[in-house]
């Protein structure tokens, strides 16, 4: 079984997680830029974080046989802090990078005017740079947030076919599905969705445009939830092909819209002896 986790914050995870993910079938991840738990106070700390997503983290992932790409953005929460918003001016040079496959995660947190501005500006950046966008739906007042998100997406230059609405649940999936956007479900131990609820949603809304992620980060979360969903799908009668579609082909299709996805990472044993090192060291 091959698994692509389309939303996971590996910066917050250990190498044990990478090893366990590989053993569970995870071969590719996308790490969207997000809030680090502790508020940032300047654009400079964003830039160091973005550089880590383009340097150290893909290196770590490759050592465990996992292809790592990222999405770059100013997250909704920190879009409200005027000390942070100048980072928007730095985004264009990051959005040209080879391993950046989307703008994200963008969207709403508290649905403020500052978040309106950042969301609209970054949807435009996605359109300008030939990238799809990963749009997070808010944790509070979710359905109203989804509708407001859809309004902004529809007014933007980015087509709905290049937009992934994430953190959906039973209350928001119908409107999201009607919009034509891709549908993302985050599976957490306690909150967001669980594997059986995802299976129920898949029965109703189908596998065609659905992606499942662990959204694992520094909070209570589990990077192996994608595998649990795959197992729950099989137990519920979905086929191997259905599982492959939701957990591999759909994320490949969505992030492949960037034209920058590279999934040919050597197996960890080949790399451990310095495969990529030797290539340049000779």
């Amino acid at each position: 079984m091959r698994i692509f986790d389309p939303h996971i914050h590996m910066t917050s995870r250990t190498t044990d997680d990478y090893a366990a993910m590989y053993a569970s079938g995870v071969r590719a991840v996308v790490e969207p830029a997000f809030w680090l738990g502790q508020p940032r106070t300047s654009p400079a700390s964003f830039l160091d974080y973005f550089d880590a997503l383009l340097g150290w983290e893909p290196f770590r992932a490759a050592q465990y046989g996992i292809a790592h790409h990222c999405a770059i953005a100013l997250n909704p929460k920190e879009a409200n802090d005027p000390r942070c918003t100048p980072v928007l001016d730095e985004l264009p040079r990051y959005l040209d990078k080879d391993s950046v496959v989307a703008v994200g995660e963008i969207g709403y947190d508290a649905m403020t005017p500052a978040e309106d501005t950042a969301l609209a500006a970054q949807l435009q950046l996605a359109a300008d740079h030939g990238l799809p966008a990963l749009v997070h739906t808010p944790h509070r007042d979710k359905l109203a947030g989804l509708h407001r998100t859809l309004d902004v997406v529809r007014e933007s230059a980015l087509p709905v076919e290049r937009t992934l609405l994430d953190h959906l649940n039973e209350t928001t999936v119908a409107a999201a599905a009607d919009s034509g956007c891709w549908l993302g479900f985050s599976v957490y131990p306690d909150t967001k969705m669980d594997p059986d609820r995802v299976v129920a949603v898949l029965r109703t809304f189908g596998t065609e445009r659905t992606l499942v992620n662990s959204a694992a980060d520094w909070g209570r979360s589990d990077p192996l939830k994608t595998r649990e969903v795959a197992d729950a799908m099989l137990a519920a009668g979905f086929t191997d092909d259905d599982v492959d579609r939701v957990l591999w082909r759909n994320p490949v299709a969505f992030y492949g819209l960037s034209g920058r996805l590279r999934l040919d990472v050597p197996a960890p044993d080949a790399l451990h002896e310095g495969n990529s090192v030797l290539r340049g060291g000779e």
Partner: protein, 226 residues
């Protein structure tokens, strides 16, 4: 400073690219870089009549070839990207200021290409801060690129010895260290450091790497077998 690779290398590299589209992109990128070298004062505009695919708009004030440098991986494939980027830097005759900015604003593969280009482009020690930066990382792609001929020529003894140790720590093969035999010869301090590292490994019940014994032999300094 080393002589840039002969034009034959370009033909070899073009032959290694995945398809004709990549070869066309590579030829245009080299032409962009070459124009920047001959007219360094102004950023040249891409010629829309000859461009098979328009490159992304360069950052304000930066020439088109620098956008090509950033996006080389997706146009030429990751295996050829090192060589393509390095050749673009050489063709554009990038100066130390440009190399420093491209390194600082670069992804890890872009930084690696800057490091690989240093011996062809920089005469004095002005770019050693980039080498120092790369040697502070634990990213072996950067460490191995940092210990090339430029480091052999310009790193002072203390930094160079730590670079050799860093390679042994991170699994970068000694073959990546340019001029290892020449610089190690007679280096009693390097021999002491290697012997101490071997003793630490032995004390921990861990194997002494064969690469370490090899480096110690190259010092030629008489020592007890670690």
């Amino acid at each position: 400073m080393l002589t840039p690779p002969p034009s034959r290398t370009r033909a070899d590299l073009a032959a290694r690219l995945p398809d004709d589209q990549a070869r066309a992109w590579f030829a245009e990128a080299l032409a962009d870089a070459s124009r920047a070298a001959t007219a360094p004062q102004g950023p040249p505009a891409a010629d829309p009549a000859t461009a098979s695919e328009a490159p992304p708009a360069p950052a304000p004030g930066h020439p088109v070839w620098q956008s090509r440098f950033v996006t080389a991986g997706r146009h030429c494939g990751p295996d050829a990207a090192d060589d393509v980027r390095t050749l673009l830097l050489i063709e554009a005759r990038a100066d130390t200021e440009t190399l420093t900015r491209l390194y600082r604003e670069g992804s890890a593969p872009e930084r690696r290409a800057v490091l690989l280009a240093l011996p062809f482009l920089v005469d004095g020690p002005g770019a050693t801060p980039l080498v120092d930066d790369a040697l502070r990382t634990h990213d072996t792609r950067l460490v191995s690129a940092a210990v090339g001929p430029y480091a052999a020529e310009h790193l002072p003894p203390h930094a160079w010895r730590h670079a050799v140790l860093k390679c042994l720590f991170t699994g970068v093969p000694p073959a990546a260290v340019a001029d290892l035999a020449r610089r190690a010869a007679g280096d009693a301090e390097l021999a002491r450091m290697l012997t101490a590292l071997a003793a630490e490994r032995t004390a921990a019940g861990r194997e002494v790497p064969r690469d370490l014994r090899h480096a110690l032999t190259l010092t030629g300094v008489p020592n007890e077998e670690p």
